[in-house]
Amino acid sequence: MTDTASAPEATEAGEAAEAVDGRVPVTVLTGFLGSGKTTLLNRILTEEHGMRIAVIENEFGEVGIDDALVLDAEEEIFEMNNGCICCTVRGDLIRILGALMRRREKFDRILIETTGLADPAPVAQTFFMDDEIASQLRLDAIVTLVDAAHVVQHLDEEKPEGVENEAVEQIAFADRVVLNKTDLVDEATIAEVEARVRVINTPVQILRTQHANVALHQVLDVGAFDLDRVLKDDPAFLTETEHQHDTTVTSVGIELDGELDEDRLNAWLGHLLRTKGVDIFRSKGILAIAGAPKQYVFQGVHMLLDGEFGRDWREGEQLRNRLVFIGRNLDREALERGFADCLATAGAAA
């Protein structure tokens, strides 16, 4: 009878295997020159963490680690021929990641370093738009390093009409902001920088540090694009921030109880992303769909949206919808109104 004792274990192992994502995690590390990015990169490559990391770097020759698998990438932004104006991908990354995956037994994870001038959207969109990449790799998080002493100056930099402020964009896209060099500024400056970051990207987790000395698990195992973990580790999800600066890039968080009409939600979200997708950098949410026993979780980059049903709503749990948009010129009132109209109960009133 001892043979049967293994049966329950086998079941558990089976369930565990189902939960484990076998894809190779990819971290995007971005930040301006002087933010401490190279210091962090070198730490990640030299520290004893038992992980083998392949690095794709944009600034050639920065990392000089023997035996490290380091590949050089020159930014090649490709438009997709699908009529979607903001659907750009990074051709260089598709090419390099494709070649790397043929050597996948050589490393456990991939780190993509981009320059402070790179647009994060095509980088993130590459993981949505290329099936081969999406099936073998998962974007873990976009980590943005900022220099506490200089970031405000970058954020305030006046750009000509139609030109993006890259510092703003990089913070808007970030899942983690590593606020580096806090030893070089006083507490008031740190508070100001954090407030500025929060206006742009309300849910982002900010990690204060010096000499890029951040705990690696806080930047390497984030699961920010993992639908199971959407919003889970974002305590500041709906924290209202004071609008003390005239910024065009902000976050709009919406929290609303009740069940949503699926058709109206699809119509609203579809229309919103089609018409405003260029300005909506990132979106994520957990929603209660009428008639569905499970939470619907989604996250998106510009017009691209990835969603699926997550865990069951618990017995007696408040059916609370939570979503956040980070973008340019967001109209909070219109978003709130549009979303409220998706409530199943709103149909009767209309």
Binding site: E79, R102, R103, D130
Partner: protein, 344 residues
């Protein structure tokens, strides 16, 4: 009941293992060459699998091509390229640091290699004969036309055709999007590119008229014309699609669909046998097809399936009509005898 396996299994002529994950195969004359992801290249005798030469390309390999006369070899990779000469085993390595995605021999004396955003045309010993101006992106694929006088270069936004006398293209075939694979019909009538946006774009060379075959579920990164130039095989879906390019071409037609693999990883037409195609999948299966049988829109079943022991097929090549070489990710390179010219 098995619908596919004929009574007799194909005999394995030889099998070797390389200490690298194969990425590309080439077969010409009496030689077979295999290149691995880490840059190991082995040149083998096609009949026996005996090693005839070896070299290493630092930084890894992406493509390997034997010259038509089997006297020279070019291997390309993420950090450069290398040439090998059969007579004395002499190897010339160029670590340029530039991404070199593909090589294509015009004849035994001239080879084009992609090098970053340019294509370089070299003599068989590696001396540069001419080069193209930089394309809009890193060059993704190359093909010779007009008996080696014109070179087609695929990159982002266009396929550009170059000739020796000028760095600038002599003809540009623009199409927005990233062209991942290039195939030129041996008749010279058609240029086809497989695209990141899940389509095949086609130009008729006579008048540059265009056609797009869209609706693929995935990007199209493998295209292959058979030696007649009448048939084009493509990936981009779980099914291999086979388009009829005879007569007026594929306008208004539907392809034949070959269903066997989940993900296609290799395609190779059998030389000297009309319509015989080999395809490989990431589950390790190799399928052999009468790919042009039936009517357009037919869904075909393999004439034969070869079990790859579960290791993904990395590349396929025919060393003449009677020997099919398969390379698997686990390092195995295997040759099957295919005795009948008419059957598979």
């Amino acid at each position: 009941m098995s619908v596919t396996a004929p009574d007799q299994a194909l005999a394995v002529a030889w099998e070797i293992r390389i200490d690298d994950a194969p990425v590309a195969l080439s077969a010409r004359g009496d030689l077979v060459a295999v290149a691995g992801a880490e840059g190991a290249v082995r040149v083998l005798d096609a009949a026996m699998g005996a090693e005839m030469g070896a070299l290493d390309l630092p930084g890894g390999a992406l493509d390997v091509e034997l010259a038509p006369d089997a006297r020279h070899l070019a291997v390309t990779g993420p950090l450069g390229y290398a040439l090998w000469r059969r007579d004395d085993g002499c190897t010339t390595v160029r670590e340029s640091g530039a991404w070199s995605a593909a090589a294509a021999w015009a004849d035994g004396s001239k080879v084009a290699v992609a090098s970053g955003r340019r294509a370089l045309v070299l003599d068989a010993d590696g001396a540069e004969l001419w080069r193209t101006e930089p394309a809009a992106s890193t060059v993704t694929d190359l093909a010779w036309m007009r008996q080696g006088r014109r070179l087609a270069v695929a990159a982002y936004g266009a396929v550009c055709c170059h000739e020796r006398h000028t760095e600038k293209p002599v003809v540009t075939y623009p199409y927005i999007g990233s062209h991942l694979a290039l195939a030129v019909a041996p008749t010279g009538r058609w240029i086809c590119s497989g695209n990141q946006d899940a389509s095949i774009h086609i130009w008729r060379t006579r008048d540059a008229s265009e056609l797009t075959m869209s609706g693929y579920p995935e990007k199209v990164s493998r295209l292959a014309f058979d030696e007649s130039g009448f048939w084009l095989a493509a990936d981009g879906a779980p099914d291999v699609t086979v388009w009829d390019f005879s007569g007026k071409g594929p306008v208004g037609t539907a392809p034949r669909s070959l269903r066997c693999h989940e993900t296609i990883t290799a395609l190779a037409w059998r030389p000297g046998a009309a319509g015989h195609l080999a395809s490989g999948g990431d589950d390790g299966t190799v399928a052999l097809w009468h790919a042009t049988a039936g009517r357009p829109e037919s869904r075909l079943r393999p004439a034969r399936e070869l079990d790859g022991d579960g290791s993904a097929v990395a590349a396929l090549a025919w060393a003449g009509p009677h020997l099919l070489v398969t390379a698997h990710r686990d390092g195995r390179v295997r040759a099957y005898g295919v005795p009948s010219r008419n059957a598979l």
